[in-house]
């Protein structure tokens, strides 16, 4: 019994330690963010931010677009199979449009970015830790949080919402494709119905979620890298852990945000 309690206590302390570390890292990064901004910040840091935006955003475009297109098509197919029985096939448009802007667009994007970039952050920083490059930075009077994390976080904050919008567009277009082939609904009419069903607050809540997801992915990925102890095998473990933890936390945050918006945002 004592062992069980000890294990529960140890795990609880570990999780609290992790959450605490995430918070400390977040505040430290927010304080260092000024250096990564264009015009007012450090020129080299902004260049690093642009490079990161290309890696997080532009390089992920094909993958996110394809995932969103397939998901939009699947959602339309699955929705239509049920709604057709009630003669409500038209509601597929609402389902796809609202479902993507509020939920699926940001979530699918976050899962893709978590797998691609969250793991890359952990691997990069973890390798730097193993090879003493982080110590090198410190003794050169360069703070790893400012030098490494701030550009990554700023790039994620810009890229992930942009990718979410692309994901929304691809998912909704895939729904339009389905409607065109199943009901011969013209693309213009489909677009008009989509614009009628979506409200500005749907887009805004989706973007708020994607900003939160970007924060989770960037910070979990980097923290896993900073916490690497040991050799190359530890880098591998941190990479896996970054993806698993950030995906879990993204879904948890999604549930919390959805509940908050459900009770606070009136349609």
């Amino acid at each position: 019994m004592a062992t069980v309690l000890e294990n529960v206590g140890t795990k609880t302390i570990d999780h609290l330690d992790y959450v605490g570390s995430l918070n400390i890292q977040l505040w430290a990064t927010l304080r260092a963010m000024g250096s990564a901004l264009p015009f007012v910040g450090n020129r080299y840091r902004w260049q690093a931010t642009v490079r990161q935006m290309l890696q997080i955003g532009v390089d992920a475009l094909p993958m996110v677009s394809l995932m969103a297109t397939c998901s939009g098509f699947i959602l339309a197919l699955q929705g239509a199979s049920e709604l057709r029985r009630f003669g409500a096939l038209h509601y597929v448009i609402d389902l796809v449009a609202v479902g993507f802007t509020r939920e699926l667009g940001p979530l699918l994007t976050a899962i893709a970015v978590s797998g691609r970039s969250g793991s890359a952050f952990a691997a990069e920083i973890g390798t730097m830790r193993v090879t003493e490059e982080l110590d090198s930075l410190r003794v050169m009077a360069l703070e790893p949080v400012e030098f490494l994390l701030a550009p990554k976080y700023l790039a994620a904050l810009i890229s992930v919402p942009c990718l979410s919008i692309v994901s929304n567009v691809c998912g909704i277009l895939a729904g339009g494709l389905f409607m065109f082939f199943s009901t011969h609904l013209s693309p213009l009419l489909y677009l008009r119905d989509v614009l009628t069903s979506i409200q500005l607050q749907d887009v805004i809540t989706g973007l708020i979620k994607s900003v939160a997801f970007a924060t989770i992915i960037a910070h979990v990925g980097c923290l896993e890298g900073f916490r690497v102890r040991g050799g190359p095998d530890a880098v591998g473990r941190s990479t896996t852990s970054a993806v698993v933890k950030s995906t879990f936390l993204v879904i948890l945050a999604d549930a919390v945000f959805t509940a908050i918006f459900y009770f606070t945002v009136k349609r």
Binding site: E133, S136, M140, L142
Partner: protein
């Protein structure tokens, strides 16, 4: 006043005492070699001098600043006057050699790019790598990496140069070249040089004074001649390459005896 002053320094890792009340003064322009076997605490002492870890008690004063208890800004200021080349070189693999050397100049000075290029070229020329600036660290040999790390350490014209195991893993010719380079740097730039090593020929060639570490304490501190003439049993064992107990047959037999009577075998 010494440039580095260590007083009653105690370092522990999880109740294991690594450094046990060290006292040492390093004067301006002096080459101090920290000598000792594996696990004697040399690298730990170096990390304390660089402010990478905090001691359990005692102080490390660098240029009059207690780096274990100073503010982050003071620590940064001290670190700007220290150039460090780690044992593994710790060059940034994502950057070319010249970008590695230019990094601190870009970050900490407002020099024009053309001046930075000139300083980088000069530093690379000093270490004999003027023609290799465009290469990445992974394209260099072990000796070239170490020299590139020295060039990077020299970039900000530091008052203190710290070299961790500069000749470890190098062939005798390259190791001798590095020794000559250290002597040249000291003479040309009047730097205080701290070298961590367990290579005796190298230590005797470059040192003004040698501090011999054994199990977390200084067993002897003195000039090269004083160390060579020392009758301290630990110093003599190290200089005369006398094997420790671990390699002797009775000790090996004792280990086996202890293991056979241990709980794992008894079960």
């Amino acid at each position: 006043m010494p440039i580095i002053s260590i007083r009653d320094l105690v370092v522990e890792y999880e109740d294991r005492r690594i450094l046990n009340g060290l006292n040492l003064d390093i004067e301006h322009g002096e080459t101090m070699v920290l000598l000792g076997g594996s696990g004697s605490g040399k690298s730990t002492l170096l990390r304390q001098i660089l402010g990478l870890e905090r001691p359990k008690s005692g102080s490390v004063m660098v240029k009059g600043t207690d780096i274990a208890h100073c503010s982050a800004a003071e620590l940064k200021a001290v670190r700007r006057s220290i150039g460090v080349a780690f044992q593994s070189a710790s060059l940034f693999n994502s950057m070319s050699v010249e970008d590695n050397v230019a990094l601190t100049l870009r970050e900490h000075t407002k020099l024009a790019p053309s001046i930075i290029d000139l300083v980088v070229w000069m530093n690379l020329a000093v270490v004999g790598l003027a023609d290799f600036g465009k290469l990445h660290p992974q394209e260099l040999s072990g000796g070239m990496k170490k020299r590139a790390a020295v060039a990077r350490a020299l970039a900000l014209d530091p008052e203190i140069l710290v070299l961790d195991e500069p000749s470890a893993g190098l062939d005798p010719i390259v190791a001798a070249e590095l020794d000559e380079l250290i002597l040249l740097l000291k003479e040309a730039f009047q730097m205080t040089v701290i070298v961590v090593t367990h290579e005796l020929p190298s230590a005797f060639r470059i040192a003004d004074r040698i501090a011999m570490l054994y199990q977390g304490t200084f067993s002897s501190v003195g000039t090269v001649d004083q160390i060579k003439a020392s009758q301290n049993p630990r110093v003599r064992q190290f200089l005369d390459r006398v094997p420790g107990d671990m390699a002797k047959a009775p000790a090996v037999a004792a280990y086996f005896e202890k293991y056979l009577q241990g709980p794992e075998v008894q079960q």
